[in-house]
Symmetry: C2
Subunit: 203 residues, 2 copies
């Protein structure tokens, strides 16, 4: 159900207006959709995604429940479409920075950090600890403890937690990718690969 990069969403929401040859959108539709998206956006920050029901959204938006279903197929659909807004903004930020003379690698990260700060509440709701499943959270905690212990002697302790998160996050991701791919390479190889990246970076 993950969005493919090539997907195109025909309809613009909110401030961005109508294209010339595009199917013009009824004002009522635009209004209703914005109301629903706004309501969802706020509720998600208040209660977390899972706890928000369609009824909540409609009540908050002041919209009939049947209306909801004429616009979205369900909660997930609404979420996916809302994420498109963030995505669009992020890519825009990235494009803007591309033109500047900053040619260091990974320059998009600054854009992402800034974008995130600008939309802190949204990001919190989407990426925060609440958003992670309990399973992942637990495993993550175990790893974090081990890493923290390992790091105790090394270097200065400021930014320590960031380093911990860095290592754990990288590890979880590599592990996930490995598993999704069928765990073809050996554990030892993965271990070596990962350790090299951790110790010496990607240079």
């Amino acid at each position: 159900m993950t969005e493919r990069p090539g997907d195109v969403h025909q309809q613009m929401h909110g401030a961005h207006g109508q294209e010339a040859h595009m199917p013009v959108i009824d004002r009522r539709v635009a209004r209703t959709r914005t109301k629903l998206e706004r309501a969802f956006f706020h509720l998600m920050q208040e209660k977390g995604y899972d706890a928000v029901t369609i009824n909540d959204i409609c009540d908050r938006a002041g919209v009939g429940r049947s209306t909801f279903y004429t616009h979205f197929t369900g909660k997930d659909d609404l979420k996916r479409r809302s994420l498109e807004h963030l995505r669009a903004e992020l890519l825009e930020s990235h494009a803007r920075l591309k033109s500047v003379e900053d040619q260091r690698p990974f320059r998009f990260m600054l854009a992402m950090f800034e974008h995130a700060r600008r939309h802190l509440p949204a990001y919190r709701a989407l990426m925060g600890s609440e958003g992670l499943s309990v399973s992942l959270g637990t495993i993550r905690d175990i790893l974090a403890d081990l890493v923290r212990a390992e790091l105790k002697g090394r270097g200065t302790s400021d930014g320590r937690e960031t380093t911990v998160a860095f290592i754990v996050g990288a590890f979880m991701a590599v592990m996930t990718q490995w598993l999704d791919d069928g765990a073809k390479t050996t554990p030892a190889e993965m271990d070596a690969h990962f350790r090299r990246l951790i110790e010496h970076g990607v240079g």
Copy 2:
């Protein structure tokens, strides 16, 4: 709802027997719990956590639904307790490797990789792409594309996807931690910190 490291679970399941001074467990209880846990374990791999209902579990286990509730408060409870098994095994693996003369840093990672491979299906169900929320998945995809493009020139292309996962995962984690902490440091600082880790490692 995340399990704290200090938590103790009194009751052992499956093969591990009864302690002397511990409240002895009725065989029926042990049997029922194991049946439920096994059923859950398998169902989760077949349909994914969300799709599994309490009814499914009870049907598969051959246990009355009301019985379920005398043992667990709900699906999450069952999941949490099941994770305890993995956790115990992992810590045991780690302890075993600790005694060996391998003194490289992060040695626990090999244990984790091996443990994961041994329990591949379980890990897949718990950590695989299905386990991640759609939101995180989407953002992750966006980042992965950017990183992949960035990496195009550098070094050899084998293990490229692992490196991509590494960077993206680390980034997501650092970002999450930063946000959860209230985004106190500036985006630029975070950017610098993260870039240093990526480029030169934690040395």
